[in-house]
Amino acid sequence: MAQSEAVNSQTAIERAARSRDVRYRWLLTTPALLVLFLFAVGPLAVMLTYSFLKPGNVGGVAWIFSTDGWFKVFFKVNIFEGTVELADAHLAILWRSVSLAFYTTILALIFGFPVAYFIATRPENRRDLWLFLITIPFWTNLLIRTFAIMELIRNEGFINTWAIRLGLIDRPIQMLFSDFAIALGMLYVFLPLMVLPIYASLEKLDFRYVEAAYDLYANKWQVLWRVILPLTKSGIVAGSILVFIPALGSYVVPRVLGGGRSMMLGNLIEFQFGQGRNWPLGAALSITLMAIVMVALLVYVRNQGRAAQHV
C-alpha cells in the first residue's frame, strides 16, 4: 500500500516535470529577442555589411566586397600626385562635431542644473507643473521648433524688429547662421534631457546633508561643490551622456540655424546617403560615430567601476 503511494507520487512528479519542461522556457523570451534583433542588431548588421560593399550607381550598394568605404573615412587619394593623405576634411568635421557636442553638454549643464535645482526645491505639489513646462517642447516637432528659433533671431525676426522699433539698435544684429544661433538651438533642444536626470537625483538628495554642511561652516558655494554636486553626480553624468550622444550626431540644428556653412558629422552622413550617393562611406562613418560613443561610454563605465571599488 505504502509502496504504491510512493510510486504514485513519483509519477506525479514526472508528470509535473513534463508539463513544465524547462528546456522550452526560452521560447517565452522570443518577443524580447525579436524586438532586440529587429531594432538593434538588425540595422547594425545591415550598416556593417554595407560599409564593406561598393557604392551603387544611383545610391544603394553594389554587392561587391570593398574596403573603400572605410578607407575613405580616414584617408583620401590625391589624384594629381597619386599619394594617400589623411582625410583632413572628415577629421575636421569629426572634431567640429565633438566640440559642438562638448560645448552643448557644458551649456546644458550650466543652464540645466540651476533649473533642476529650482524645480527640486519647489513645494512637492508644484514640481509636476514645472516638469510639465520643461517637457512641453518635446511635443512639437524638432524642425518646427528650430524654425521657430530662426523666426525669432533672423534679421527681420521678432527680436531684431522690436529692438529697432524700441530704438535699442539701429540695424539688425546678425544672429542667425552664427555659432551663437547653433549654441542657442542646441541648448533649447537638449536642455530637458539634462534637466530631467539631474532633477531625479536632486529630488532624492537628502537636504539634511546640506544643512549638516552649513552647520559645519560651509558657505553656499562650498555646500554646492563639496556636498550637492558630488551627491548628484549620477544625475549629472546621466544627463551629460543623454545630451552628448545625440548632440554628436545632430544635424537639423546646425544646418537650419548654422546655415549649413559648417558641416557636422550628422550632415556628412546624411550627405553620403543622399546627394553623395556613397552608402558604404555613409555606413562606415555611422559606425565610426557609434564607436566613438561606445568608447566614451566604456571609459566612463570603467571609471565608475573603479570608483565603486574604492567605496
Partner: protein, 369 residues
Amino acid sequence: MSNVIEGMEQTAVDIRSVSKVFGIGADRFAALDQISVAIRQNEFFTLLGPSGCGKTTLLRIIAGFDHPSEGEIWLDGVNISALPPFKRPINTVFQNYALFPHMTVAENIGFGLEMLRKPKDEIRATVGEMLRLVRMEELATRRVSQISGGQQQRVALARALAPRPKVLLLDEPLSALDLKLRKEMQIELKRLQGETGITFIFVTHDQEEALTMSDRIAVMSRGKMLQIGTPREIYDHPNDRFVANFIGDTNFLPAEIVTLDGDCAKIKLASGAIVNAGLPEDARPSGAVTIVVRPEQAELVSGESRADLTGRIENIVYFGTDTHYHLKIQDGSAFVVRQQSRAGRADSWKLGQACGVAFCDGAAQVLRS
C-alpha cells in the same frame, strides 16, 4: 581653577523671549511661544517634551536653520540672531547623523575644519584626536556606509566636536540605537561633555534619558517651557500637571490649602488628613488645588493611625525589582504605591485587603492650577 568654576556660572546661550510662528491666518501655529532661558557654560541642558512640543524648532533656531519670528539668541554676550548657521560656533549632531555618504570617516570629521580653512597638519592632528576621543581609530578610512549605526553615531559626534564649537546641539541622537548601545552612548556623552568643556544642548522625548544625563531639564509642551530645573527638582517637585505626568508615574489627588508657609504649605486631603506639601515657584495658591505624590514616595501601612489615605488593594503587579499596588481610595479614584522588593521580605499584602497609605516626608507637591 577658579576660572572653571566661574565659567560654570556664566551664561553661554541666552534665549530671549523667542517665538516662532508658522503659517498665516487660520493656519497660524505658534511652534514656540515666548521662550526665555539662559543656558550656562559647559552645562548639559536637555529640552524634554513629546513630539510637536517645539523642542526641535528651538534647536534649529539656535543652530540658525530657522529664524525666530520674535526674540533673540545671544551667545557669550553677542547677539547671533542674524547669523547664518555657517557663521555660528555651534555644531549639531543630527537625529539621523547626516554623515556625508561620499566621504570617509576621517573626511567627515575633518569637514568642518577644512571649511574653516585650517592648515592641513592641524586638521590631520585634530581628526586623529577626535577619532581617539570616540574610540574609532581603526575605522578612519572607511566609508560611512560601511560602519554600524553605533559607530555612525560616534562619527557624527566627532564631526560636530572637531571644530571645537562653543555649543553642541544634539537632536535625539540616541533614538535610532538599541537599548544597550543607547546606555553606552549616554555614558559616553557625559564623558565627552566633561572632557571637552563644551555646552551641550540635548533634545529628547525620552524622560529617562533626560533624567540620567542632564544638569538641567526644560520640560516643553505646545511651544512653552513649563518647568526648568535639575532632574531631581523636576522629578520630585513638578509644578505642572503636564510635567508630573510626562516624567515618571504619578498620583494626582485633590486637596485644599490650609496655610501657606514660605515655599511650603499645609494642605488638607479629601480624607481629612493634613500633610505638608511643596509649592511651585512664585506661586501663592489658595483654595482647591491638585497635589502629586510619586508612587515610590508613599507606603502601605496597616491601621489608620499613620495613614494619610485609606483604600483597598485592587491589583498587585510584581516587577522583580519592585511591586506596584493599585489601590482604590475612599473617594473612588485610583492610587498606585510602588514598593521595592527586598530579599527575604515576604509580601504580606493581599488582593482586596483594606489598607492605609502614608506619604514620605516631602512627597506631596502642589501643582500650579
